[in-house]
């Protein structure tokens, strides 16, 4: 328990650190992320004040990592939260209304879930042009399914719980049940799920970039930097591969740590009786 919470704390610290790195970093280490500088491409770390060298068109790699981190974080958070919000709404509605509405709503979820995520993303990505908002929508378009399922399960389970029965015995209706009880009791699941969704969204951005459907220049994200750096893996340009790789892993890992910690925290609160 203690150790687990420590992991969650480490995760939280890491997230804060990475956010600070991406959003405050540029203040401490201002770099030009707009103009390329072919003359200084592939500068090695330390050379000419480039702490982490430059990339293939001469962007300062450290600055680029900060800049790319912004996109990764924004896309991850936005997609994760959007998906969670929508999924929660969908799942709670299906679970509580029940009957054929539930059946139809859940078949839609099943259908989308049965298309493997990356296949679905690639399909969508061939149709839309990947910009940041589009990327968010694309990822959210798939990611809402899991929370929807989960929340539906939760609300069905809640529906037959004694305290909902008791509430009905006082004359309360479904609306109240959802508004006061389901929301209160599912919030833990929702929050925990959201952290995992965010982590997954960050990974998905990376995958889309790897598959050639990432955000176009001059935007950058860690996933894109990693996958374009992949072709440099044998060059001596290690600074183009490993830093973005490590940052992604850290970010995804820390969100998972936090999610695990939160899950335990929420479970313990109920278990305590």
């Amino acid at each position: 328990m203690f150790f687990e919470n420590r992991l969650a704390a480490v995760g939280l610290l890491l997230i804060v650190g990475l956010v600070a790195f991406s959003f405050l970093g540029p203040l401490l280490h201002p770099t030009d992320q707009v103009h390329t500088d072919l003359a200084n491409a592939y500068a090695a770390p330390g050379v000419e004040g480039y702490a982490l060298g430059t990339d293939g068109v001469g962007y300062d790699q450290l600055g680029r990592l900060m800049f790319g981190g912004q996109t990764s974080l924004i896309v991850g958070l936005a997609a994760g939260l959007l998906a969670t919000a929508f999924g929660t709404l969908w799942g709670a509605t299906a679970g509580f209304v029940g009957g054929w509405v539930d059946a139809v709503m859940m078949r839609v979820v099943d259908a989308l879930l049965s298309i493997p995520a990356l296949f679905l993303f690639m399909l969508i990505a061939t149709i839309i042009t990947p910009t940041v908002p589009m990327l968010v929508l694309t990822i959210a378009a798939f990611a809402w399914l899991n929370p929807a399922r989960m929340i539906r399960g939760d609300s069905i389970a809640l529906r037959s719980r004694d305290f909902i029965v008791a509430m009905r015995g006082m004359g309360g209706g479904s609306l109240r049940a959802v508004r006061t009880h389901v929301v209160r009791n599912a919030i833990g699941t929702v929050i925990v799920n959201a952290t995992f969704q965010i982590a997954d969204a960050i990974l998905y951005v990376a995958y889309l970039s790897f598959l050639g459907l990432g955000v176009p220049p001059p935007a950058a994200n860690w996933g894109g930097m990693l996958s374009s750096g992949l072709s440099e893996i044998y060059s001596s340009h290690w600074w183009l591969v490993y830093p973005p790789g490590i940052l992604i892993i850290l970010l995804v890992l820390s969100f998972n740590f936090v999610g695990d910690g939160l899950r335990d925290a929420f479970e313990v609160r109920l278990r305590k009786r």
Partner: protein, 569 residues
Amino acid sequence: TAGSSTPEGAAADGSSVSVAMTTPTWILPISQPGKTGGENDIFGQALYPSVFSYDLGGEDEYNLDHEHSVAESVEVSEDGLTYTTALKDLEWSDGTPISARDVEFWFNLIAANKADWASYTEGGFPDNVESFDVIDDTTFSITTTEVYSPGWYIGNQLNSLTPMPQHAWDKTSDEGEVGDLDRDPDTAQDVFDYLVSAAEDPASYATDDLWSTVSGPWTLESFTPGGEVVLAANEKYTGADAAELSQVVFQPFTDDTSQFNLLRSGGIDYGYIPPNALDQQEIIEQNGYTVEPWDGWSITYVALNFANPESGPLFEQKYLRQAMQQLIDQESISEVVWNDAASPTCGPVPQEPGAAGTSEGCAYGFDPEAATTLLEDNGWDVVPDGASTCVNPGTGEGQCGEGIEEGRELAFTMTSQSGSTAGSRMMAEIQSQFSQAGIGLEIKEVPDSVAVSQVCEEGEECSWDMSFFGSQGSWYYPVYASGERLFATDAPVNLGSYSDETADELIDATRFSSDPEALQEYNDYLAEDLPVLWMPNPVNKVSAFSEDLTGISPQDPMLRMYPQDWTRG
């Protein structure tokens, strides 16, 4: 060293070579739309060499490659109307001599089915053929309707001529009687349909009897659609360029990264490395490979959509095109982004393969100041890193030009290919340079930029501004680099609907005039007029092949591959 045809035997005497290549999808030497990829050409040439092969650097007047051509010679009549071709004394793999009749068979089939032939354009071959005459067993002549420039006609029209085994194929079903069916246009269509439908079944390529009769130095041993293709030396081949190796295996090629992994571990004899990995040439060479960029007979450009109602009027302004061209640092891009595996494109006629990576001699060099001045001189308020606006509208001297109202901003979207690291970097660089002159560029990366930037048709939305699809070169020419398919008004690949009277005239001249300067004049005019923005022209690929393989170099800029010339050891 024609070896045994069993894989083990071949491997044992070391005469098998594995080559990375996209799996071919077409075998019939009459190409179909959508089947014109380079791999199909290479595959076809190995089995069914065409009458003429070309060698850009050669001595020959028409750049003919006598070694690989089925033709012995071609002669143009005094009046310039008749082209008489003599074939070499060769045999089909079943022993039947290759004759003029076999070429006629090919000609009859495309003549009767020209709409389905990939190389057909209205008024082009075979419309411009008055008559095809078989003179004797190995000689035939083609008489044209007009007098054409022989360089153009031999290079760009007769290049498709291919002998096909009339004695085996001139039928309409597997069991059908072989006859002179091709000579009647109606039955010629049936024969064509029969052959096409056979070709539409790649799974049977290696088993269908039709394709066992070949004229080339190779026979097809096995064919896996979407997978491995094995060619074996044609032991009945009577030509001079018989295969030295006993077997060539085409392994499916997919993507740079996995290719490179394979090469690094020595898993293939002939593969490719991504151009931006050229700095690791040494590592690959240490692995026992020769690394050699494969230059193409190609140009690379960004298409501008003149037909776009919004941005068309801007593109119509030559000063703007010039300014944009001057903002493209072709030299640096070639050097840094492409690791020197690209060279600037100066005009519609490609630079000599292997030309130095400088833009010396180009109409426009990289000159941001000049670009800014040019804009300012034409009524624009240039805002670096912002949006330049038109402050002096009008059509007069020093004004923005027709159709450009006051306050108009310079901002475009660039549709570009996704999935290419170098492509993305190039776009980043151009975007960065454009922004210095206040020209906003929004990059849209799509898997297939051609598809989204088609020729505008009436009634259809036509909103693309600029389009780039040249991460392996935008356009590969036949040997005679004339621009009738690219820059002539209403030409098929004139995506941006560029139209210029002088250009049209000059293009016509390249086809009809026998003046050797015609091509030069056409090039000079368009190089300067900028129907498109010239971009660094990358090599087709960077090949890496086993050190012990000889005969590969020099690689054909028109992207043919002659594995029969290769030897091991």
